[in-house]
Symmetry: C2
Subunit: 232 residues, 2 copies
């Protein structure tokens, strides 16, 4: 899809945005080429930085002890989709170079933006060649419903870097997980939301999700969990 | 443990319970030999029946479409603890026969009950030889915390058959999962509870769990999920 699209105008000026040619369609704006692909061990540094940005955003940085090496040791140990899996969102103002992706056909889209994105961290999140940067990720893994006797996919984290928010990218990432679940014949996609985050709840409901209002998560962790070491 | 214990008295009478000999310790009652072991594909018929009993208990039988064949097709496809795993609770009034269990050392306990258990479904839940019956199960699988950069274990279902309830068996099953998580170096054990089930909440808090009051589960399923088949 990206390869078939015409290249964007060089250095477009805000006062005179140049869109796709009229022969293609009529959108006017700044194209942003986006791609969702499966993350690999090489992406751990970017994933690590985004996990910490997410922790800061949620004011939970003091709970975030993930390091590049601890992520490397625990992710990517299984076949994609069989265990913990990460979709990475890459974007570029230019058509994305082709990549090899044996286990998942990358999902590519061209977004038309009203204004170009100013990415102050473009250098840090550079992904491969050209102007490609990592803009977000979603981490998910299989869960299981005994009533359905089917696996599902559980979305542990969904994150879009600040300068790429409010452009529908979160929806694209979540939709990619949902499409993958359908493709695998799975019965559910689940995730959690804070009860006071009414905007997120509205967004998820518009995507077709039901909020299970009666269920509460129970968590055994830290010393309370360690206490079970010799309990049995 | 079971092998080292003396055999229980033959046909103990309620009015004159015969416990362990005084030389061992001083409990008086009816011994119930219990064992937690990893379930195998051969256990699917029992697991299936218990899932349906759980659905009836939760008044959700109309949502339960699990069959023996759909459970067989989706469980036991991976190494134990790497994906969906089931611990089975077996009990017997007599010492349990030894079993081969390469991936998990069975956890054995002798409970001293005030009264013998009358199990109206003993024949249906018979497990192997002698008087061994399946009394409950717990189904769990790995989840992942990005903040900890560690897997955890998520408990999807915990069930004890009605005649074996209020004897601490749920706690033994949940403790077995917690102990397994610690053994594997995992960071959390999580599960969910209904917000109105104050007894369960109290029980879980006493076990050391924190209830995450602010989080709500979002679920995309059925036609709403199917709609994403071609969304990407």
């Amino acid at each position: 899809m990206a390869a078939a699209a015409p290249p964007p105008p060089p250095t477009p000026a805000p006062e005179a945005p140049t869109g796709l040619p009229d022969s293609e369609s009529t959108p006017v704006g700044y194209p942003l080429f986006s791609r969702i692909r499966l993350a690999t061990p090489n992406d751990v540094p970017h994933i690590h930085k985004m996990i910490h940005q997410m922790a800061v955003f949620e004011r939970l940085a003091h709970h975030c002890v993930a390091t590049e090496s601890s992520l490397s040791a625990t992710l990517f140990n299984h076949l994609p989709f069989q265990s913990f899996s990460v979709f990475l969102l890459e974007v570029s103002p230019n058509p994305l170079p082709n990549i090899a992706s044996p286990n998942f056909i990358p999902i590519e889209r061209i977004m038309q933006l009203d204004l170009p994105v100013i990415d102050p961290e473009a250098e840090i999140f550079k992904s491969g060649s050209n102007d490609v940067v990592v803009a977000g990720f979603v981490l998910f893994f299989p869960n299981y419903s005994t009533f359905l006797a089917k696996p599902g996919l559980y979305v542990e984290d969904l994150f879009v870097r600040e300068c790429y928010r409010r452009k529908g990218m979160g929806k694209i990432l979540l939709s990619a997980v949902a499409a993958q679940a359908v493709k695998m014949g799975y019965g559910r996609v689940e995730w959690v939301v804070l009860d006071w985050n009414v905007n997120a709840i509205k967004f998820y409901e518009e995507m077709g999700a039901k909020i299970l209002t009666e269920w509460r998560i129970c968590r055994l962790t830290g010393e309370a969990l360690e206490a079970y070491r010799d309990a049995i």
